[in-house]
């Protein structure tokens, strides 16, 4: 075989290469660096993430349309999002590990590899790369979920996620095997997305797609595969929970939408099935959260509901086929979701107790007297998640509703509005607890100097982020 004819295009994965080099450097240095200098490894990790972000934004190599002989696409807008999530989780990790935790630098190395895997997962154009990156992400995630390995909560969360992701990964894989077996093209192109639209007539392909969709629905925690979410969110360390809730879900959603775009018009039956799934997800997520008092479980249910809203957006896109506006709307929504969720998890992380797994809403009583910044952030971001104007969350939901209206999905719009109204109830219950009188049994807060400025910045962004819309829709 003529090896000189293969074009690798390593320039295109410069961001991922920077991330990989950073994590390898952290692991290697952690072995040789003396104990006192360990905290510089966190700084190195953060610098590596920042470097990757800069490379992503400023380095635009020229290349062909598809890279690595068709394995990756050029569109890498998810990278900036994922790296931002990783940086926020790192900041949270500083506060989390200062409360008592081990192996901070190795945690950072695994987090960076997870981010790299997520970026490649979303960028992939070929199911083989998608599967390998998917497994990389899930492996890193259940390693991180079990990181607090002296507490049974964290270990149980890790084991639950392990079993669930094992089953879903195997299902995803069988789906890929069937898609491969449909025989749409030859050799490496067999699994390329570009060839999918030709395959909808073959039953093997359709079964494969159903299985792949099942595997992906596990990842984004949609009904009927959502039952792992509250438990795993509760048990995992707080920075990992935030990463789960934002980055992992966003990666799953964007990959699912890319596959739906590649499939072309799918017909009424598939859209009906997706609509039912989206409706059930919204209902289960919102109604399940109403009775929750545990803070992290409540965020778990809230993330299930948000997966439902994003599924509504994907279905609307499948009907309207307006890809560019869809990408704008979905990125707007997930950035708004990221700002709000991360700020709330910053607040969650600043309570005492090494393990936040039993933190409940009643621990927040009297917060308004103890710390004004934390209360302010909590109120603003919970309002954003509930969809109260003028926060970014409101405009995100409005965009989804506009899409749904244009696609004439009135039932789904109704369910979404119903879900939002229900969500106002439980978010406001949380907010109200912050203004209640304390009863003396709450946990102490430990405001962390590394988290406060970022939290304030995230809250301000939540309020003003909607200004981006003016730029695009100014009359």
């Amino acid at each position: 075989m003529d090896t000189s004819s293969i074009v690798y295009g390593w320039n295109e994965v410069a961001t991922e290469a920077v991330l990989a080099v950073t994590s390898v450097a952290i692991v290697a240095l952690a072995a040789v660096v003396p104990q006192q200098a360990r905290k510089w490894l966190s700084v190195l990790g953060f610098a590596g993430l920042l470097g990757a972000l800069l490379v992503e934004v400023f380095y635009v190599p020229e290349s062909a349309d598809t890279l690595f002989a068709g394995l990756l696409s050029k569109d890498s807008s998810f990278s900036a999002f994922a790296i931002a999530c990783a940086m926020l989780s790192t900041l949270m990790g500083v506060a989390y590990f200062s409360k008592g935790g081990k192996n901070r630098s190795e945690f950072l190395a695994v987090l960076i590899i997870c981010t790299m895997g997520m970026i490649l997962f979303v960028r992939s154009n070929n199911l083989m790369v998608a599967f390998v990156a998917f497994e990389c992400v899930t492996l890193c995630l259940y390693v991180m979920a079990a990181w607090a390995h002296n507490k049974s909560a964290s270990l149980e969360a890790g084991v639950k996620y392990l079993v669930i992701s094992g089953v879903s990964g195997a299902t995803f894989l069988l789906g890929i095997a069937f898609v491969y077996g449909a025989g749409l093209a030859t050799h490496i192109d067999l699994l390329n997305f570009a060839n999918f639209s030709a395959g909808l007539y073959s039953p093997v392909f359709r079964i494969g797609m159903v299985l792949i969709a099942a595997g992906l629905l596990f990842k984004i925690a949609a009904v009927p595969f959502q039952f792992w979410t509250p438990d795993v969110y509760q048990g995992a360390p707080t920075p990992v929970t935030a990463f789960f809730a934002v980055a992992s879900k966003a990666a799953g959603i964007i990959f699912l939408s890319r596959m739906c775009i590649a499939l072309g018009p799918m017909g009424d039956r598939a859209e009906f099935a997706f609509s039912v799934i989206a409706a059930l997800t919204i209902l289960v997520g919102n109604l399940g959260a109403v009775t929750q008092v545990n803070v992290k479980r409540l965020m778990g249910f809230s993330s299930i509901a948000n997966a439902g809203y994003l599924l509504v957006l994907i279905i609307a896109m499948m009907k309207l086929r307006n890809v560019d506006e869809f990408y704008f709307a979905v990125y707007f929504y997930i950035v708004a979701y990221m700002l709000a969720t991360y700020a709330i998890f910053f607040v969650v992380n600043q309570f005492e107790g090494y393990d936040d797994y039993d933190q409940s809403i009643s621990d927040y009583r009297g917060l308004s007297r103890k710390s004004a910044t934390m209360t302010g952030s909590l109120v603003v971001n919970l309002a954003s998640l509930a969809g109260i104007p003028p926060t970014a969350g409101f405009f995100g939901k409005l965009l989804i509703l506009i899409f749904a209206w244009a696609a004439q999905m009135y039932w789904l719009m109704g369910i979404m509005i119903f879900g939002s109204v229900v969500s106002i109830y439980y978010y406001f219950a949380w907010m109200r607890a912050a203004f209640d009188t304390p009863s003396g049994t709450e946990k102490e807060i430990q405001p962390s100097i590394s988290l406060l400025p970022t939290m304030v910045a995230l809250s301000i962004l939540t309020l003003v982020f909607s200004g981006v819309l003016l730029k695009f829709y100014a009359v």
Binding site: Q35, K39, L71, C140, V143, I188, S202
Partner: protein, 173 residues
């Protein structure tokens, strides 16, 4: 001869799989999984994918199962405590699944583009093809798997280390 081998390996594969979910005791299930893996390797031999078959035996049966046995030995060979009715139900479900798969599989695969049995050796038979493919076209997933293994190693060591009390003077991070 080939038909006999096919039925033998198929039986090993399926009965081993059934044994994993029906048998009591860890070592029994691990051994039946070993039989199943050897059956799968045999089936791969029949498909002329010799390299993958040997890898299967050495990685799956040789490493993965040994790891399982190690862990099982650490925990003590306890029984599952599942009653006989549940096992019969599982067996019945298994037979039903077998009928389903046997019924639907031929319908699914009819009409697939197929070149028929190839004249010479299959392209999967030679190890050289794997090497060429891995280093030319599939370089990117190869590198990702390398980093995945790094993350797995770091994770295993971080999780399995004893969790010592954090000493203030000795900032063991």
């Amino acid at each position: 001869m080939e038909t006999f081998l096919y039925y033998l390996f198929c039986a090993m594969c399926l009965c081993g799989g059934l044994g994993v979910i029906i048998l009591r005791g860890y070592v029994n299930t691990a051994m039946s999984m070993l039989v199943s893996m050897l059956g799968v390797a045999g089936l791969m031999f029949l498909m002329q994918a010799y390299f993958v078959a040997i890898l299967m035996v050495s990685v799956y049966a040789g490493a993965v199962l040994v790891l399982f046995i190690f862990v099982v030995m650490l925990m003590g060979d306890t029984t599952d405590g599942v009653n006989i009715w549940k096992k019969l139900a599982l067996l019945a479900l298994w037979v039903a699944a077998g009928c389903l798969v046997g019924w639907f599989a031929p319908e699914m695969v009819e009409g697939l583009r197929s070149s028929g049995p190839s004249a010479g050796t299959s392209v999967l038979a030679e190890a050289k093809n794997y090497g060429t493919a891995l280093f030319t076209e599939f370089m990117l997933p190869f590198q990702i798997v390398g980093l995945l293994l790094l993350a797995a190693m770091v994770g295993v060591i971080a999780i399995a280390k004893p969790f010592t009390v954090r000493n203030r003077n000795n900032d063991m991070d």
